[in-house]
């Protein structure tokens, strides 16, 4: 796949071309200025070399215009490149709305992935070509960083919070997957592969993988096993509610008991499960117990997937997408 002698990385994502263009532009600017300075230095060095011991340089001439020129030109170049670089950056970090959501957990020293269909992998990630993929990630221990050079993207996986990156593979093949943030002894072995496949091949591969519940389905199941549903009751439940409604919660602004507000994003939901009393919703008693240490990162991700799924359609449907177990308790 790779030749032994290679001086430029594979380009295999929709963003690679943009990043390469930016890089090559900068490289050209750098080479130009480095050569300019080097040439001037050598030229002056030879032309004005000292001819006899008592010689001194000619008196300094003022050249205010020159100074303005060489302050303003770099400034303009920098500002142009800043704007360009920032646009590329925003593209790199804003996933398109049709992105499929994958989940990744880093731990010393491996990467664990879960597909939206529920398939789990370690250190290898199969993805379909042409499909935007958003990876939400966290870490079980220290800070790691998910890095796929061929896709020109990278994101730190930070314990205790969620971060995301996205990419769209454009070329089938197998690409390096590295941990880029130093994470301890086996850091350089925390590597793997992203295998980009043509969509039909990917479907075939997916079908051949052991059947598993989707994250939403296993989240729904967990929601019941952990007895979350005894308080977070469905709106249709005739009994009085003991905790806030979760359906449609994701992405909204929540008013808090201490007068502030919080955006109900992944990190907020995570914190509310692990440290419920930190941000209590206005109008409710802080009766929820903590689940710190009781749920793994993967289970948390499943719960989140389930809670998010409550937005669009009913949990019943969501569960039906999976294996349907324990789906009814949420609604009935």
């Amino acid at each position: 796949m790779r030749s032994e002698l290679q001086f430029f990385p594979d380009s295999a994502s929709s963003m690679a071309g943009q990043v390469d263009a930016l890089y090559l532009a900068w490289a050209a600017i750098s080479v130009f200025f480095s050569l300019l300075i080097a040439a001037l230095l050598v030229f002056f060095f030879v032309k004005y070399r000292r001819r006899h011991e008592d010689e001194i340089g000619l008196e300094e001439k003022e050249a205010p215009l020159l100074e303005i020129v060489w302050s303003v030109i770099p400034l303009i170049i920098c500002l142009v490149m800043f704007v360009w670089g920032t646009r590329v950056f925003f593209d790199l970090y804003r996933p398109p709305s049709d992105a499929q959501e994958y989940f990744a957990v880093g731990k010393q020293w491996m990467w664990k992935f879960q597909h939206p269909e529920g398939v789990r992998e370690i250190n290898t990630l199969h993805v379909p070509v042409g499909q935007a993929i958003k990876v939400t990630m966290t870490s079980e221990d220290v800070i790691h960083s998910l890095y796929v050079p061929a896709f020109r993207t990278k994101q730190d996986a930070v314990p205790g919070r969620y971060t995301t990156l996205w990419f769209k593979a454009t070329k089938a093949g197998s690409y390096h997957l590295f941990c880029a943030e130093y994470c301890g002894t086996e850091h350089s072995r925390m590597i793997g592969q992203v295998i980009a496949m043509e969509p039909h091949e990917y479907e075939k591969w997916l079908a051949g993988s052991p059947a598993t519940k989707t994250p939403i389905a296993s989240g729904a199941q967990l929601f019941a096993t952990l007895a979350c549903d005894t308080c977070h009751r469905d709106a249709k439940d005739p009994r009085p509610a003991r905790a806030p409604q979760l359906a449609g919660l994701y992405g909204t602004e929540v008013a808090l008991a201490d007068g502030g507000t919080a955006k109900a994003d992944d990190t907020y939901l995570r914190e509310s499960i692990l440290n419920p009393a930190t941000k209590v919703v206005a109008g409710w008693q802080p009766i929820m117990p903590t689940f710190q240490g009781q749920v793994s990162e993967e289970q948390l991700a499943a719960l989140l997937a389930y809670i998010k799924s409550l937005e669009g359609h009913s949990p019943k449907q969501a569960a039906a997408d999976g294996n349907g177990a324990a789906a009814d308790r949420g609604t009935l």
Binding site: G57, P74, A150, H187
Partner: protein
Amino acid sequence: MSHAAVHDLNAPSASKNYLNNGYGLRSWLLTRDHKRIALLYLFSVTGFFFIGGVMALLMRLELLTPEGDLLQADTYNRVFSMHGISMVFFFLIPSIPAILGNFLVPLMIGAKDLAFPRINLLSWYLYVFGGAFTLWAMIHGGVDTGWTFYTPLSTEYAQGQVMMAALGVFIAGFSSILTGLNFVVTIHRMRAPGMTWFRLPLFIWSNYATSLIMLLGTPVVAVTILMVAAERALHLGLFDPRLGGDPVLFQHLFWFYSHPAVYIMVLPAMGVVSELIAAFARKPIFGYKIVAFASIAIAVLGFLVWGHHMFVSGQSIYASTVFSLLTMLVAIPSAVKVFNWTATLYEGSVSWDTPMLYALGFIGLFTIGGLTGVMLGTLGIDVHLHDTYFIVAHFHYVMVGGTIMAYLGGLHYWWPKITGRIYRPFWAKVSAMLVFVGFNLTFFPQFILGYMGMPRRYWSYAPEFQVLNVLSTAGASILGIGYLLPAIYFAWSMRYGEKAGDNPWGAVGLEWQTSSPPPTFNFHETPIVTHDAYDYHDQRPTTAAKGEAALV
């Protein structure tokens, strides 16, 4: 013109100097003479340079092959951590300020000593204590956190002597605070009559800017490292998400100091280069005031860009945008300096003596280091390049290609003043060439490796990265010889070198107007300054200055 010129080399008055003013151990270890303290620093800092250098060679040897076969992964991690800690905290930060700055700041402004000689000595002892702690940690297993001590790796997961190493860095931090304090007060209060702010040599300006960073930044990293040590010992939970802490907070506090610390390392180097260019082109630096203010601008802006180390840490993308813009702005004063140095050579009388070769090397390599720095400040590229060998190459171009080049250039330039003797110019030129060639061969391939995606701090790597790694290791061995040579011929010259005379380069500047080596209180009479810095037209040196030419 120059009163020092009346002192004949062989006259008895010239032989009474700071070096022969007492020979016992006490006269050195309890000295309050800034010049002797500078020499104490020279020896201890050189020690750490070679410790860090051996670590670097071990790393390069390991990276000859893709498989990790020479060292264990764990050993490799400890080696690169100790390389970073000794080079950053115990070599680069103190090198130019504590050695050349200590020696030259009072001489250049016409003072008898620094404002607080006892505190100056104390700062050397703090450096030595800090160094001793770190060496102890190194011998008892080292640390495997990297020099950045990122949490929660350093606080919860790392093995080794993190506490001791952190304590060493903490103590050494106070050494640098005290040096900065001494410089600021000295430059404000101890200037000779007539030495106005805009007559100060640019080396003084850049050390002044450096001192401000030392004063304002170091306490923050000191308290941060203290928190890391406390957290590791007592599990306070400040940086541990499981206990409610925030690991990224550490990065903010750490880089709030450690980014400006980059300027602690490079600003004094810029000052040295300004001196070298002026002395060896026999011309004032083009746009003196702009270069002086550029130093201050870099020091101030340097405090506002720390977030560019955290573009992929999950920091808000809007914060990243602001940090990126500020990073672009801090590049401008550096670019201006490069252009001004180059323009100074125009119509100069350019000597080819060794210090000038280093100055030239500095400008070329710093230009590359600076440009790649702005590249990394560009958000869209940094995502790909962050934590790859591109970063490694970039900061080595600035730190090694910049700071060490300038440091060696400065050492060659002022060596006759420090010791009164001169080294063999042939060997000095050979070593300058070896350093230049070896450096580029070592670090240029790493730019390419970085863009190809090889992450830093990898002990084994994918096979397609090997060719460039072999080139890099080959370069490192040349570089190693280039660094060993000066240690040998400098040591040789101290005993056997020819007497240099008071002003071998025919330079203006107060330090060249006293005898070589200078007397204990620097000047036989308090000098009165009547000219701008580098005014070669009105203060043509009276002694025929032969430079190195006389020796070849």
